[in-house]
């Protein structure tokens, strides 16, 4: 795997009024994003997510540290040629129609006019706004502006997408469309960096995540690994005699169940085969054995609580 984004001890501070008070928005941040993955960037409000994205795009100058995007300095036009960006608040020139706006962004990107027209038609169609392409943006709803923002981000068929809260203004149908689009882009080998508060979206889309708090990196890693850390196994069966329950409980298992389905939760995988042996012994059919995972939301809150107590 090739690293597309490298952050190396990135720090960004802002000087306040009078230049005496200094706020550190991003503090000694280091991580990398690999080619072809969907990378989630999580953190509470004011954690420094947007500041990091702004620095990666060259809008902000690092106070110390640095890094690269496609091996180029932040904000390098050659790198930007391969990047699409959707900001949290999509601010578009309201006098444009979607067609006109995409034409403007295509010219800024140096796209061939014929190719740009074809791409614009495709992305407008793909994001479900082709039927309003002659309407002024000022007449658009928030959700439509969000879709249009995404359309301009994917217009140049970029290799890397930075999406800041891409689904925040969308209805469930819109969210599904966007998720499908992102999965399609991933299948094409594109890299996507998403900053979002909607943890269920991150959980369903991302391969890896970085969690930051107060500008510092708290956790980074593959989502599967992070969510399975410290979790056990859940075994389900549809028959569980009392003797078997007692034996399982002696092994430390917790039995939850009704008359028809029983779930056995084990705190770790060590006793997994012992429990399966007990079920076999008592003639209990095995329905499933699955790794017990916490949801990203639970994991996120645990991490945040842990950080608060530090």
């Amino acid at each position: 795997m090739t690293s597309i984004i490298e952050l190396d001890h990135l720090t960004k501070s802002f000087k306040g009024r009078g230049r005496k008070v200094e706020t550190t928005a991003v503090n000694d941040l280091s991580f990398s994003v690999e080619q072809g993955e969907i990378f989630g960037f999580l953190g509470p409000n004011g954690a420094g997510k947007t500041t990091t994205l702004y620095t990666l795009l060259g809008f902000l100058h690092p106070s110390s540290g640095g890094g690269s995007v496609f091996g180029l300095p932040f904000g390098d036009p050659e790198g930007l040629r391969r990047i699409g960006y959707l900001p949290e608040y999509v601010n578009l020139h309201e006098y444009y129609t979607p067609d006109g706006m995409l034409n403007y962004y295509a010219r800024l990107s140096g796209l061939d006019p014929v190719e740009a027209r074809a791409r614009a038609s495709y992305v407008l169609e793909r994001l479900g706004i082709a039927d309003v392409c002659n309407k002024r943006i000022s007449k658009f709803s928030k959700g439509m502006i969000q879709r249009l923002g995404l359309a301009q981000a994917v217009l140049g068929n970029p290799d890397l997408l930075f999406l800041d809260e891409p689904t925040s203004s969308l209805d469930p149908v819109g969210r599904k469309d966007v998720k499908d689009l992102l999965l399609e882009l991933k299948a094409q080998g594109k890299t996507v960096v998403i900053s979002s508060h909607i943890l269920s979206d991150i959980e369903s889309l991302c391969d890896r995540v970085a969690i930051i708090r107060k500008g510092r990196l708290v956790k980074t890693g593959k989502l599967d690994e992070l969510l399975s850390t410290g979790s056990g196994v859940r075994i389900t069966t549809d028959k569980l005699p009392t003797d078997a329950v007692n034996e399982i409980q002696q092994l430390g298992g917790v039995v939850i169940g009704s008359d028809t389905v029983f779930a056995i939760e084990l705190p770790d995988r060590e006793k997994e085969y012992d429990v399966i042996g007990i079920l076999r012994k008592h003639g209990c059919p095995l329905i499933s054995v699955a790794e017990q995972k916490s949801s990203l939301e639970d994991y996120f809150f645990d991490i945040m609580k842990g950080e608060e107590t530090k």
Partner: protein
């Protein structure tokens, strides 16, 4: 390519602004009022009518034309300068405060290209203004007095140079100061202002004011009021000097403004 795209966008954006329409119509209305005033004067003083040939009447007519033209040029010139200042001081900063700048600069557009594009868009709008008022002033002068002295269109062209010069200074200052402060400083920090202040000072303060007079750009170089009064036109070399002076200031201000913009955090 990016410069032209940004300039075209800026031009189209500004053309849709209602306040700009009000300014354009206001300027044309002022010219219209001037025409009305002159028509009234003509009816009150029949000697001003076209065709009066004796020396005294001719002299009076010339003076009247000159006086009115100077006043008119001063008014449309001031509107032009304020228009250029207003547009240029807020052109980049409004994009920054609205957040649209980040959408644009996430494209392979260099900051200096964006800055120059914005400047060029404003120059085109001021050009449209100059063309409109200039055409009207020249047409009215020609039809009212049966002739058009070359100093009139030249003076209007100089007003354009002056407006862009003051606007460019304001635009560069707006990268460092608040736009409204930049506007005021650019308007007031002309060489002539400090020469005027020096008249009230003594000793070191007077020397400082004189130094500032020589260091700061002169806006007066673009005012051809004496020429309008006398009906005389300056030499080609003098015109070339003024054009070169303006272009030099524009270039310096664009370099300074773009450098400051490059260093700025667009949070």
């Amino acid at each position: 390519m990016s410069i032209l795209a940004v300039a075209k966008d800026q031009f189209s954006d500004l053309l849709r602004r209602r306040y700009l329409l009000v300014i354009f119509i206001g300027a044309l209305a002022i010219i219209g009022m001037w025409v009305g005033y002159l028509a009234l004067m003509k009816s009150l003083f029949p000697a001003m009518q076209q065709g009066a040939q004796d020396a005294a009447t001719k002299g009076m007519t010339e003076m009247m034309i000159g006086g009115l033209q100077v006043a008119l040029h001063a008014i449309i010139g001031s509107i032009g300068v304020l228009l250029a200042l207003g547009l240029m001081c807020f052109s980049v900063t409004s994009e920054v405060s609205k957040g649209t700048v980040r959408m644009i600069l996430s494209r392979p557009v260099r900051r200096y290209e964006f800055f120059i594009g914005k400047w060029l868009g404003c120059v085109c709008i001021v050009g449209v203004y100059t063309l409109l008022v200039g055409t009207m002033v020249c047409t009215y002068t020609y039809y009212s007095f049966g002739r058009l002295l070359p100093v009139i269109p030249l003076s209007i062209a100089m007003l354009f140079l002056k407006a862009i010069t003051v606007g460019s200074i304001g635009m560069a200052l707006a990268m460092w100061l608040r736009p409204i402060v930049a506007l005021l400083v650019a308007y007031l920090a002309a060489a002539e202002t400090f020469l005027f202040i020096a008249g009230f000072m003594h000793g070191i303060a007077k020397s400082v004011m004189h130094t500032l007079f020589y260091a700061l750009p002169s806006y007066k170089a673009f005012d051809l009021y004496t020429g309008i009064m006398n009906g005389t036109i300056m030499s080609g070399a003098e015109i070339a000097y003024r054009v070169a002076y303006a272009v030099l200031i524009w270039a310096l201000m664009l370099i300074a403004g773009a450098s400051l913009f490059q260093r700025r955090d667009l949070a």
